[in-house]
Amino acid sequence: MADRPDPQAQAGHNAPGLSLHVPEPKFRPGDAVDFSHVDVGEPGKQPRPDETCAPETMRDFAYGLVRVLGDDNRAHGPWDPKLDPETLRTMLGHMAMTRAFDERMFRGQRQGKTSFYMKCTGEEATSVAASMALASDDMVFPSYRQQGILIQRGYPLIEMINQIYSNRGDKLKGRQLPIMYSSKEHSFFTISGNLATQTPQAVGWAMASAIKGDTRIAATWVGEGSTAEGDFHSACLFATVYNAPVILNVINNQWAISSFSGFAGAERTTFAARALGYGLAGLRVDGNDPLACYAAEQWAANRARANAGPTLIEFFTYRAEGHSTSDDPSGYRSAQEREEWPLGDPVMRLKNHLIELGEWDEERQEKMDLEAAEHVKKVTKEAEANGILGHGLHHPFRTMFEDVFEELPWHLKEQAEQAIHERETKFPGGLPNEGKGA
């Protein structure tokens, strides 16, 4: 009992007062940025363990950083996926298209054509390169910042824009906030506004695939901020308990709106290190290195397919733009961060790698960028013919009540009739652009 505090002593006597630690990012608006404290390791130095290795042997992979592309624009080490130049050019094309699409849609929001948009600038490799390592029928459960997966999987851009404009071509019938895509045909799960809910759902899907003796696997993407949600814990736990064939991708882009990653627990550990406590394989990867992103996802997919278990991958990257069209990052972080980010830009790094290989040049890059921009512009025009938000060209009014249930129950029938009556009272002749019952 010697170390028991003396109940008679004055509280705090002989001991410092307790203090609450509230994390604070290193740089705020106007600050000069120095990222020299960020240890990014050296490309090619990490060994590549066997895909069936035991999770407890992966400590160094959870705290280190798997990198392939060096400052010399060459691929280094055992994680080099050795992709042929044609595949690399395809990868670069999807990433460039994703960026061009983001630019155009962001502008569309500023022009009032839609209510909302979210870019993924700087994070293109974490969706495009990662999903290229999966089979096209592997099920993905993305968050809202993986539009690159849809582009990589060949989802028509016009469908994306129709959804963003909530127009009459919108497959989701104008019910969802822009960018909350869904495409079963492309094994792309319906995006929800509620953060991290998709992570344990992906595990459930993977469990189902295992129950049925299928060969397909599931992959899910979640931001580092959202790993704070209880759902993320459930996902890790269920994944390990049932050895589910699933990949849990954590996109650590340093920022959750205005909160830096310290508020998700990053000050004292890595997100990949969480895997260790669950008995999951954990990999921490340079998220701006498309080759490393591909290689890590491929490693995890092989592991899952071999029934060797789930993997948690932390993609270490940087959210180069604001959180959304409703956000202004100059209110909480230094504008220099983007320029100083030690891992650079994923599109530039892949471009330079291809040039270094002698498989690409600046001229072709310029042409490709121009063609991507022109293509998005052309498709945007096509989509605008289906209407833009608030201009009347939307789905018929009655569809608002459909798909709540498989069949319309009496109370929704009554409410649909009421809504149609209100519409007819307001617009006795009907709106010119609307069909009957609209």
Partner: protein, 356 residues
């Protein structure tokens, strides 16, 4: 009482006919799960202690041994994880039947139920659905205290996209559960644990009679369904309409019998979607309406029922619509019978409604 779905060639003569099979509600639920798993290989059962052990209430007893660990399995103690995994399994094409051990513990899974399961069909324009049935024991009357007695049905009734079902007899429990499992929408299936073993009159000081003594425990073998959204007229009468579900159906029946009141007792069975036609027809016939539920009063499902009856039957009403409910307090332990909407509270409400 013969089995409703029995065809003549299955029962060639009286001598060879199978004896009546009487089950309690637990056995009826177990039977519904077993039959659903036999008929559809995509049906999987999961939850805390449901596998090897067979469930803390024995509802899943024997299922793992019969159908295998791939289809009946234990889960971590994580309601969020259980519901979320079921949503993902549903998206794959399975038909999961997760169990939440007590309705009082469903709250950690609420985001997955409200934001995900209920909205999946709507937000994906029917690309993805959540054909899952969440089974959960609910209701009080068992000295369960604050966290083994709650009736949270109003929370789910308020969520568009969820169906909520509450059986009151073994026969209904089986038929409704099979319907719920076969339904392509997410269903919350609340099982009144007070009446798992026998109906409850509300007189806690009298011995409970087992289900086997009641005809409603005659549960046919094999597959049958009871449609969701259809009420059951438990007793028929001209004086008053009583709307109830779960345990309270039996309590109000006992009170009416004792007081000699001839009431239309409507066992709602499904609260969403609601059998509004049956309610309207009965209230227009009797001109009086009493609503009874165990759940707390304010913003309970009784408020919705009262509003609907008032809106739709106003000119037929001869007295104000009354509600008998639990009090607006957490469910107490020692004062359970002062809290529970028992015979005195119901009797007084009936006297008030029938006064003139």
């Amino acid at each position: 009482m013969s089995a409703p779905d029995q065809t003549p060639d299955q029962a060639p003569n009286q001598a060879e006919a199978k004896p009546e099979r009487r089950l309690n509600m637990i056995e009826a639920i177990n039977d519904a799960l077993d039959i659903s798993m036999q008929r559809d290989e995509n049906v999987v059962v999961m939850g805390e202690d449901v596998g090897y052990f067979g469930g803390v209430f024995r509802c899943t007893a024997g299922l793992q041994e019969k159908h295998g660990k791939n289809r009946v399995f234990d889960t971590p103690i994580s309601e969020c994880g259980i519901i979320a995994a079921a949503v993902g399994m549903g998206a794959y094409g399975l038909r999961p039947v997760p169990e939440i051990q007590f309705a009082d513990y469903i709250y950690p899974g609420l985001d997955q139920l409200i934001s995900e399961a209920a909205r999946l069909r709507y937000r994906s324009a029917a690309e993805y659905i959540a054909p899952m049935t969440v089974r959960s024991p609910f209701g009080g009357g068992i000295f369960g205290g604050q966290t083994h007695s709650q009736s949270p049905e109003a929370i789910f009734a308020h969520v568009s996209g969820l169906k909520t079902v509450i059986p009151a007899t073994p026969y209904d429990a089986k038929g409704l559960l099979i319907s719920a499992i076969e339904d392509n929408d997410p269903v919350i299936f609340f099982e009144p644990k007070r009446i798992y073993n026998g109906p409850f009159s509300g007189y806690y000081d009298k011995p409970v009679q087992p289900w086997k003594k009641f005809d409603q425990s005659v549960v046919p073998e094999g597959h049958y369904t009871i449609p969701l959204g259809k009420a059951r007229l438990a007793t028929e009468g001209e004086q008053v309409t009583i709307l109830a579900y779960g345990t309270m159906v039996h309590v109000v029946e006992a009170v009416c019998k004792e007081k000699g009141i001839e009431a239309d007792v409507l066992d709602l069975r499904t609260i969403v979607p609601l059998d509004i036609e049956a309610i309207e027809a009965s209230v227009k016939k009797t001109g009086r309406c009493l609503i009874v539920h165990e759940a707390t009063r304010t913003a309970g499902f009784g408020a919705e029922l009262s509003a609907l009856v008032t809106e739709r039957c106003f000119y037929h009403l001869e007295a104000p619509v009354e509600r008998v409910t639990g009090f607006d307090t957490p469910y107490p332990h020692s004062l359970e019978w002062a809290y529970f909407p028992g015979p005195i509270r119901i009797g007084e409400a009936l006297d008030k409604i029938l006064k003139d």
